[in-house]
Symmetry: C2
Subunit: 320 residues, 2 copies
């Protein structure tokens, strides 16, 4: 045994950030069905927008737009959060209004500004497609095909979208060579300056709601009010779910309004607004270098082949 391999065995268990936990056992057939639904634009009124449109698995599970594009090119009110590792979040949506992925999955389908469909029409569509009917039956062992089964399957697929083995995770697992000294200095700054107070745990965030503009008020044209929409408490105004920092290199632009275009800007603004601190250019660069070590192995997705519509399938209505 060499010194090198001994060093590798020493896990860093006392850090405020942890590696991604192992995925729980999921029925592969349900995951496969969920994947089809995730990619199926027939769950939208237009037949053009799928879950993957705004949570694009080629682009870090996001759309890389300030705010998303919905039915009829409507400008969305908020930045599309990444679907990657979203099962690790305490709740879903920026304001946490859905308690889990299953509850979330039904939202965009019926949101007039997003997929602009109804759950009823989505179910009518799926029921008209024998390929789906058979698959739902096989997976759920029942003839029932409702929004409940649809969102259960989508959530199961989304649970598989974890990104393990980032350089930072390898470092946490004891691989001293996984981070450069600059990246490590960035991590130290990230901890010592207080970023880690909110961005901690296995998802470096996603586990609390925090006020955007804690020390200095945040100026934005966005009308998103945050957690107050759910709780009705004025104290929750501009409280948002802390976003995960995993794969943050891929999920630009940043913040609930997407107004920070780059990581450099995001780190600078977070320092000022949340910590009352001005990071020097050098400090900023180090933190950014650290943040880029959070890019994990992206899910390898084989594009699903969707079962074709039939003569009875309701027609898409993109221009109505």
């Amino acid at each position: 045994m060499t010194i090198g391999t001994t060093a590798l065995a020493q896990k860093r268990a006392d850090e405020p950030v942890q590696t991604i936990p192992a995925m729980r056992n999921l029925d592969p057939a349900m995951v496969e069905l969920g994947k089809k639904l995730f990619f199926d634009p027939r769950l939208s009124k237009s037949g053009f927008i799928s879950c993957n449109s705004c949570h694009n698995l080629s682009m870090g599970g996001s759309d890389n737009l300030k705010t998303s594009i919905g039915h009829n090119w409507q400008k969305g009110p908020i930045n599309s959060p990444t679907v990657l590792n979203s099962s690790l979040n305490l709740a879903q949506f920026w304001d946490g209004r859905a308690k889990d992925l299953k509850e979330q999955a039904g939202g965009p389908i019926a949101n007039p500004g997003e997929m602009a469909f109804t759950h009823e029409l989505a179910i009518d569509t799926l029921k008209s497609i024998p390929g789906y009917v058979d698959e739902f039956k096989k997976v759920f062992r029942t003839d029932k095909l409702s929004i409940d089964e649809v969102t259960t399957a989508i959530a199961a697929f989304e649970e598989t979208l974890i990104t393990p083995n980032s350089p930072f995770d390898r470092w946490l697992d004891g691989d001293n060579r996984a981070l450069t000294s600059m990246e490590l200095e960035g991590y130290k700054l990230f901890k010592e300056s207080g970023c880690v107070a909110c961005h901690n745990g296995p998802n470096l965030g996603g586990n609390s709601f925090q006020k955007m503009g804690l020390v200095q008020p945040y100026k934005t044209a966005s009308t998103a009010a945050g957690r107050v929409e759910v709780t009705g408490k004025d104290a929750d105004r501009l409280n948002f779910k802390v976003p995960t920092l995993r794969n943050v290199e891929l999920t630009y632009p940043y913040f609930h309004d997407g107004e920070a275009a780059t990581l450099t800007q995001a780190v600078d603004l977070m320092g000022r607004l949340q910590l009352g601190r001005e990071f020097s250019k050098d400090e900023n660069a180090k933190i950014v270098a650290f943040l880029k070590t959070l890019t994990g192995q992206q899910p390898q997705i084989a594009m699903p082949i969707l079962p074709p519509s039939t003569d009875k399938t309701p027609k898409p209505r993109p221009f109505e």
Copy 2:
């Protein structure tokens, strides 16, 4: 040797339809780069529309809409033809204005009604992304990164999108059990009634331009004029490239204007308009049964992971 395997060996070489020819050798690295570009919405002004948006490889390489949705939700003038097996066509677009896939690939990027970008901005975008710059360099062995390399790579990827081994191809290869008697009767009707006059060859179409409404004028609200736009000859008015029938079960709705919602309607209308013939309900059903045997093995596509933008990458402008 059993009688069964003897029967299998007997290829049907004298049919007016042939199996899909083997793909020519392509550089796997170029195909991979082309796949990334095909899926990359950063080649559009909005950052939202990629080649795959309208040529969705989960849905038979089409968008299953009457006419496509372009930048700012513009209603396209024509039905999006499938990209599957498109390398077998004599030319690209319904009017054949692009001589090959490479020439085609540049069109939608710069079309104000589609991706609404410019070639210049697309190249600026790619040049700002080190992941792309490295990959272009590796593939093309040059520092040059122009629309020429971009469309060459996209065309190489598209060339791989063939769908061999459909039941009908297996029948052509001598497997007598590949078609039911109803499907076979449909094929006989397809030949004897004259459909095969235009829908022949390995792609069952794609190899000639023909007048839409040959026997009976075609009534449509569509303003697409067809081949005349390319040749300037009035005789070419409403001449369109005969679409492939491969995977036609997946590429609904039909015709250049997408006005035939189902195969039954399409067969009925083709009979009347092109052949002056009314297919009985039974004949129609047989032909439709045959057409569904043309669904081949769909390309198995691993979704590409796109290299992230950098601070220098031009920002998408979806709402300008």
